[in-house]
Assembly symmetry: C2
């Protein structure tokens, strides 16, 4: 089971800043879904916002448009198989959570679930920006709550003690990069 600690909202962009793949979960009160998304970025620090691309044909899109809410969860290397699997099936064909053995827990501020096994979570409410949404499948949202596994992200810093906890970056065709070592550059 994941460990959970609240992340200060103004530091929540750090969960996404290095460009990891995300899982987008959604729910409309009756049905729920989860998909993978690489095309997600922070959009602002305070209040924190995000932008994420959600294909117009996806079941996730239907649930997000109905609820105005979603959660971005940050998966680990240990979860790469699930990330690929949720990106390869449609939730219209049956609940992916049950089929793929993906556990969840309730979010604090939105109806969409948090994905167990991840190391960071951003609870998001969609901003009313119909233009980019309709023309480019681009959803802008405010982050209303954030959580992280304190073994991995603590006080605004990532520390990957276990290789299996590292975040991952999607390439294509089932290929990923693992997030590599960190290093610091001193200003001149």
């Amino acid at each position: 089971m994941s460990q959970w600690a609240p992340v200060e909202l103004t530091k929540s962009y750090l969960l996404l800043n290095h460009g990891p793949v995300t899982l987008v979960s959604s729910a409309d009160g009756r049905r729920r879904n989860v998909m993978a998304a690489s095309w997600a970025i922070p959009l602002d620090f305070d209040p924190p916002k995000v932008a994420v691309v959600i294909d117009s044909r996806s079941f996730t899109r239907e649930l997000i448009e109905a609820s105005g809410e979603f959660v971005l969860s940050i998966p680990t290397r240990a979860m790469a198989g699930q990330v690929l699997a949720v990106g390869s099936a449609s939730g219209r064909d049956g609940d992916k959570f049950a089929r793929l053995g993906i556990a969840t827990r309730p979010a604090s501020r939105v109806g969409a679930p948090l994905i167990e096994g991840c190391v960071g979570w951003l609870e998001c409410k969609v901003l009313p920006e119909a233009g980019p949404q309709q023309r480019y499948d681009l959803f802008l949202a405010e982050v209303v709550a954030a959580w992280a596994d304190p073994r991995v992200f603590n006080n605004g810093r990532w520390t990957f003690a276990d290789e299996r906890d590292r975040t991952i970056h999607y390439i294509a065709g089932g290929n990923f990069f693992v997030t590599g070592d960190d290093f610091v550059v001193k200003p001149d």
Copy 2:
């Protein structure tokens, strides 16, 4: 000096898909600038588009609004010092290229320069989406040409033979992650 080969436009999203930090270069015919941006994602495959956040107070913003064009260059670990430096100074205080020893070469379809030493380049023309631009500093653009160093990105695949050529991901405060090893997941 960098090596350069054209990248098929429909594969150009792969330069950005894993979430590396980017350098945004711009020019208005008289002045030019370069800044760092982590908040950049692909927005579509064909025709390829990108979304990038450009702060409203930046000199880059002024040049992009004047020209309707920019280039995203993908820097390497060897360039992390320059990435931090261009993100820490304003081009209003004098040409950053000269000051920081950053070499360029002309782009093929836009006026903004390509940054030498990088391993991927996306030449972009801004789409007329004033709403997200004014309200969220979010620029949507079409990729009109793309290039990569064929030693590092060839036929749609990244291969980092030299550790110094690896792409990088920005965290905060001068801290980066290097892009780690790649791995493949087979679908069930």
